[in-house]
């Protein structure tokens, strides 16, 4: 992979704008960047093709849809080889929003949204700990999300 996939400054400028507001009219993007609207369309399509852009969406505020508890869980496995099967099972639990295979003491690290502590307990003991291959888990409840943002595009 070459330097940032051959993205030039125009591409990065466009990305910087549309990663903050996906519904901005391309006409406005064009004005801000200083190229034509057709060029913005073309560049966005190219970045979609290159998979620099992998989708778009509105952000849900989990708290407003009743998911008040955000938790990180480190998972220990019986055997490292069980990884793929365990991930398949974890993916079925919709409250798990993120799942990583990590270095360090845990084999798998996940992020979970639950409605309250009781719901979290049900997810933990009723769903996660029932999965074959999981030895134990360690839970970190987030008391406050200090901030959350996307990677710096124009750096």
């Amino acid at each position: 992979m070459t330097l940032r996939n051959n993205l030039d400054d125009w591409d990065l400028k466009i990305l910087d704008i549309i990663t903050k507001n996906a519904r901005i009219p391309f006409k406005d993007v064009a004005k801000e960047v200083g190229i034509s609207r057709a060029a913005v369309h073309q560049r966005v399509n190219r970045m979609v093709d290159l998979e620099v852009i992998v989708g778009s969406g509105y952000h849900i505020n989990p708290k407003k849809v009743e998911f008040k508890t955000c938790t990180y869980i480190g998972i220990f496995l019986d055997k490292g080889g069980l990884f793929t099967e365990v991930v398949k099972e974890l993916e079925k639990i919709l409250e798990i929003v993120e799942c990583h295979y990590t270095t360090g003491q845990y084999a798998i690290f996940v992020k979970v949204y639950a409605k309250d502590n009781e719901h979290l307990k049900n997810i933990l003991s009723g769903k996660i700990q029932k999965i074959q291959g999981i030895a134990s888990t360690e839970t970190f409840i987030s008391l406050e999300e200090s901030f959350k943002r996307t990677i710096p595009v124009n750096a």
């Binding site: 990305l15 507001n21 990180y72 990583h100 990590t102 710096p152």
Partner: protein, 161 residues
């Protein structure tokens, strides 16, 4: 301290139509509202109004194009548990972390660590430099524990009923 300060944020009143709309617009932010309208069986104006309301009451906050960090050269994703010298440094450390753009998420957590952060860097070397030069300079941080994500298996939003 006022009592409201530690009351939880109340869930918003949303109905089935709202949920249907949310399902569509959280997967594709640029979907024409007329298409959403057709799928939900209501008018385009109604969709506009509903989305505006969801924004106003804070159920959705903005939209974005989702980029692939790898394709932008961000090849290392790491989680970091941070230990503080004293718990009272929490606010000032969180403020200092906010100034480092590579830190994309920061939480105040229970458990072994005081602060838990997510970091995206271009390379492992970049991560090392960030830890050495920027993080360890922050006053109040005692030590850090880093977990590098070798693979992100999935990432998604909270389920809408």
């Amino acid at each position: 301290m006022k009592t409201d300060d530690y009351l939880e944020e109340k869930p918003a009143a949303i109905d089935q139509l709202d949920e249907k709309i949310l399902k569509l617009i959280t997967k594709n932010a640029r979907i024409p509202f007329l298409e959403v309208a057709r799928e939900c069986g209501v008018s385009g104006a109604a969709i506009h109004q509903r989305v505006q309301r969801l924004l106003n009451i804070g159920v959705v906050h903005g939209s974005e194009f989702i980029v692939s960090p790898q394709k932008l050269g961000y090849n290392t994703c790491a989680y970091m548990g941070i230990y503080l010298d004293k718990a009272k440094y929490h606010a000032q450390v969180a403020e200092a972390l906010r100034k480092i753009p590579e830190i994309v998420e920061c939480h105040y957590t229970t458990g072994a660590y005081a602060i838990f952060a997510k970091i995206q860097t271009k390379t492992n070397k970049h991560l090392k430099r960030l830890i050495d030069e920027e993080l360890q300079d922050i006053e109040g941080i005692a030590r850090t524990e880093t977990f590098i994500s070798l693979e992100m298996d999935f990432k998604r939003q909270v389920p809408i009923k």
